[in-house]
């Protein structure tokens, strides 16, 4: 808009003036404001963490000692499947979409997301999808138990839960695609004047690349599960060898989706860490542009590595070599990122507030997960590790102290901006240290179990694995309990606390910090000036 003013004047109002902030339940059901929708996504994600986490507790309780303790094998396998589906599609992905909703418009100087009603719809699909999935626990045959990978023909044998699960996955995919399209259009078309692509904060960049991954990968998942459905109900044989189909082909297309999915879960975490570390190092991010290119490289490479999940299916030697080398290649841009974060901290004036602690926890432990990933990329080694607890340890190191720690760090970083109050730093530090200690007690022993040969997805095991399983379960219970601090800290912060300043953290850069705390319901009604953008983009 060329010019306008905010001085009070004699505007004729046809109704009572109000703050344009709807109240009551309609505010949430009809929400089109990006902050409201972001909040709903984050609350939903928290709820899914709780449910998915409780499934994990059942798993760890059953594995506390050898023999059958609490659940039968069918329910045990349902727990592993449901835990994965709830955590991946219900907890981590919606958490990133929630953060995207809250932050992207504020960070690029846009008043809202490009398509607010589509935004509302993409959120409200999720509760229906997960209610449907949760209900599978109570249908004949039980919840899906074939693993989140849904391999044919095993998964096709699921009972009444089968079509419900497929429909729920379709809804989750539709929600993700709508969210991704909204993010892409917002970033491409709603940036304020002066907010060039290479001035965007890294969180925005990583989300843009994540949205492209979603767009490319989600139709493949939708197609794959639809083919499962038609194989089950309509007599097709896409994955049934009896009719000329190929069950291994399901694995190919699942992992063609599944590996980019891993990066969908972790790329926004790279963005968050790239925002937090410079703030608490009091230095600009080292190598901003290389971070952007590294993220794009990781995004591209994620589409040409899928068969490393399938080395033991007997793919040809040339294929094994290609997928081994392409997988190892991902270590290069990832290494660039780790180097840049470390270089940002080098000679910085570091302080260790909770967001920085979570970012550092991410840096150390995600790197552990990355290294075990490199081990799994080696074909001969993978023949030994495949299907063992070593793989479980690897991907949990990437996803829990990786993605989940980054989400927690992001919440601790931007929470004062959202609610206008500072939170209890001491409790938040306790939350970090308890999480950091117990996440290692939980997952590190699983490396040993895997290397010793303990297979994954089994409810019982030989007694030789007892000790480390007990340690892992104790770590799991303690980690789970310590997470109750998180909602308490947030609740306490919303209700009270020292008033936060606009900038909150003295060295924070970015447009969102130019807004007051809490951020106004409608932010950037007047686009930010180019000078403000230039100041915010001090990479």
């Amino acid at each position: 808009m060329a010019e306008h003013a905010h001085a009070p004047a004699a505007v004729v109002h046809e109704h009572e003036e109000h703050d344009h902030k709807p109240h009551g339940w309609k505010r949430w059901v009809y929400a089109t404001n990006h902050k409201d929708i972001g909040t709903m996504y984050l609350v939903f994600s928290g709820l899914m963490f709780l449910i998915g986490g409780s499934f994990a507790m059942v798993i760890r309780a059953e594995l506390f000692k050898p023999g059958m303790q609490l659940v039968d094998p069918q329910l045990f396998n349902s727990m592993t499947t449901m835990h994965a589906l709830f955590m991946i599609f219900g907890a981590v992905m919606p958490a990133w979409t929630g953060l995207a909703n809250w932050l992207i418009p504020m960070q690029i100087g846009a008043p809202d997301m490009a398509l607010p009603r589509l935004n509302n719809m993409s959120f409200w699909i999720l509760p229906f999808a997960f209610t449907l999935l949760f209900c599978t626990l109570f249908v004949p045959g039980g919840a899906p138990a074939g693993g989140w990978t849904m391999y044919a023909p095993l998964f096709v044998q699921t009972g009444d839960a089968f079509p419900m699960t497929i429909f729920a996955i379709h809804m989750m995919g539709a929600s993700s695609i709508l969210g991704a399209i909204n993010v892409i259009v917002t970033i491409m078309n709603m940036r304020a004047k002066g907010m060039g692509l290479l001035r965007m904060p890294l969180f925005v960049w990583t989300w843009l690349i994540t949205a492209f991954l979603l767009i490319a990968a989600m139709p493949v998942l939708a197609g794959a599960v639809t083919m499962l459905l038609t194989d089950h109900y309509f007599g097709t044989t896409f994955f049934a060898a009896t009719g000329g189909g190929d069950p291994i082909m399901f694995q190919h297309i699942f992992w063609f989706f599944g590996h980019p999915e891993v990066y969908i879960l972790i790329l926004p975490a790279f963005g968050v860490v790239s925002e937090i570390i410079p703030t608490f190092s009091r230095k600009p991010l080292f190598g901003y542009e290389t971070m952007v290119y590294a993220t794009a490289s990781i995004g591209f490479l994620s589409f040409i590595v899928w068969a490393h999940h399938m080395f033991v299916t007997g793919i040809p030697l040339a294929g094994q070599l290609f997928f081994m080398l392409s997988t190892m290649l991902i270590a290069v841009p990832t290494g660039v990122k780790v180097f840049n974060w470390t270089a940002t901290m080098y000679k910085g004036s570091l302080s260790f507030e909770p967001p920085m602690l979570f970012a550092l926890g991410f840096l150390f432990m995600f790197t552990i997960g990355g290294f075990s990933g490199l081990m799994l990329a080696l074909v001969p080694a993978d023949y030994e590790y495949h299907g063992t607890y070593f793989v479980v340890a690897h991907f949990h190191y990437v996803l829990v102290p990786g993605a989940v720690f980054a989400i927690m760090g992001a919440v601790y970083y931007w929470l004062p901006k959202w609610c206008g109050n500072m939170y209890d730093m001491r409790l938040a530090k306790w939350h970090f240290w308890l999480s950091a200690i117990f996440v290692n007690v939980l997952f590190f022993p699983q490396h040993f179990l895997g290397l010793a040969g303990m297979p994954r997805r089994i409810p019982d095991y030989p007694v030789q694995f007892t000790d480390w399983n007990m340690v892992s379960s104790l770590g799991g219970f303690a980690f789970g309990l310590s997470q109750f601090l998180f909602p308490y800290i947030i609740w306490k912060c919303i209700r009270s606390g020292e008033r936060a300043t606009g900038r909150v953290w003295e060295s924070a850069h970015g447009l969102e910090w130019e807004l007051p705390s809490p951020a106004p319901y409608h932010s950037w009604g007047e686009p930010p000036s180019e000078a403000l953008i230039a100041r915010g983009a001090a990479h």
Partner: protein, 159 residues
Amino acid sequence: MDAAPHRIEIAPNCSLSVKGALLFFGGTCFGSLGVAGTMASLGLWPVLPFAGLEMVLLAWALKVSLARRRNSQTITICDRDILVESRTGSRCVQVVFPRHWAQVKLRHPASRLSPSRLVIESHGRQCEVGDFLTEEERRGLAARLSRMIGRINESPTLA
């Protein structure tokens, strides 16, 4: 002597050009449909309709978002008259109001899903302005216009 006319130009901010959008959409189609086409060539044709549907949705989203850039309005306020020129693409509609008898109204929506509406009206005629603005922007514009136009039977001095 008449004061110099005041011009307020309002246009939505669009950071993406049409050419940029086409290139972007073409590239995305190439990637997504390329993947789906490869899958279809391997016999996994159900991937293709999902990818196609997704691209249709992306095209719609871009079109809706880009439609913003075709809209603009110029409000020219001089001593006697208010001229509102509304442009949608090549179409331009001009409406003239006598300033002394015109007033600015900000109509709050009956439903919270709908935006407010800002109109300039006089003698039973009205013209909506700033329908593509955000609520905040629209309220700011309403305040500014009211200062310059005043109530019915008022003609505030134009600075």
